[in-house]
């Protein structure tokens, strides 16, 4: 028996849904993490499975990185919202303000 994974096509996910998710990601509230901006795009894994690529601009972490449990919570919150909206699984990229210029949409 095969898994009942949904088949995603770009045309099945409208721009309004992606914008809805982007706004949610921008306002997501996880202790220890402050989101300033977010970009959301649909992508594809090597095996053809669809993925929702989320890139967040955050305050720089106090140490060398953000807390593992805080980022896990962030990933879970975004993953659950993406599921509710019918979006494929989330892949999260975190960008600190000090490296904002590495992402065109965040460039200062």
């Amino acid at each position: 028996m095969t898994s009942a994974a949904p088949v995603y096509a770009l045309e099945m996910v409208d721009k309004a849904t992606l914008e809805n998710f982007r706004r949610y990601a921008t306002n997501v509230n996880v202790p220890g993490l402050t989101v300033h901006k977010a970009t959301v795009a649909l992508g594809e894994r090597l095996d053809g499975d669809r993925v929702t690529r989320v890139t967040l601009l955050l305050d720089d972490p106090p140490g060398d990185t953000w807390g593992v449990s805080a980022v896990r919570q962030l990933r879970q919150v975004l993953g659950r919202r993406a599921t509710e909206l019918g979006l494929p699984p989330v892949s999260l990229t975190l960008v600190p303000k000090s490296e904002a210029n590495t992402v065109e949409a965040f460039a200062l």
């Binding site: 028996m1 095969t2 898994s3 009942a4 994974a5 949904p6 894994r45 090597l46 095996d47 993925v51 890139t55 720089d60 972490p61 140490g63 060398d64 990185t65 953000w66 593992v68 980022v71 896990r72 990933r75 879970q76 993953g79 659950r80 993406a82 599921t83 019918g86 979006l87 494929p88 699984p89 892949s91 999260l92 990229t93 975190l94 960008v95 600190p96 490296e99 590495t102 992402v103």
Partner: protein, 184 residues
């Protein structure tokens, strides 16, 4: 004869060297960040295959287990981890009904504990990032995000090595059952 087994802790040390917490003068290139993330993922992958082989072939010697480990593919682990994630509502889709019934019966206790969720979630995250690190020219690996992936890998490896619950053993067992004996 010298032996050089693949050890998760050594892989994590290499990842740390590629993207150190204190980089000193200059900073590692983004290529180094990619290699660090990929290496951190492999620490988790090998820790998992080691545990799976030990759970299934607990009485076998190391040489036997190492050969068996090679039959466990990335996709085998990803499939089982995705079932766990889907049952939590963290990923869209759902496992086949008989798997859903097995892991999350409507009646009776759920067969997934926090450690199993952490292993599944960590594996899926690092598996995705490893693919981006190795193949996606547009992927971005900032310094703190790279350090975060290494920290996550260290956390997941520790959980894999210590997890001893029924739930964790079922997770390892299902991965073994997804794997296929290679004829050659």
């Amino acid at each position: 004869m010298p032996s050089y087994p693949i050890e998760p802790e050594k892989l994590l040390e290499v990842a740390e060297r590629l993207a150190p917490a204190q980089p000193g003068r200059g900073r590692p290139s983004y290529t180094a960040h990619r290699r660090a993330v990929s290496t951190a993922y492999y620490a988790v992958f090998h820790a998992l295959t080691d545990r799976v082989a030990k759970v299934v072939f607990g009485e076998a010697d190391q040489a036997f287990r190492q050969k068996v480990q090679r039959w466990i593919g990335h996709g085998n682990i990803r499939t089982v981890a995705l079932w766990v994630s889907q049952l939590q509502g963290d990923s869209s889709g759902s496992p086949p009904p008989h798997i859903a019934e097995l892991l999350g019966p409507i009646e009776g206790a759920a067969q997934i504990d926090e450690a199993t969720i952490a292993m599944a979630d960590g594996f899926l995250e690092l598996n995705e990032k490893r693919e981006e690190a190795d193949y996606d020219h547009e992927a971005i690996f900032t310094r703190p995000d790279t350090r975060g992936h290494i920290a996550l890998a260290r956390d997941v490896v520790s959980t894999i090595e210590q997890a001893d619950s029924d739930s964790a053993k079922r997770f390892f067992g299902l991965i073994a059952m997804q794997s296929k004996i290679q004829t050659r």
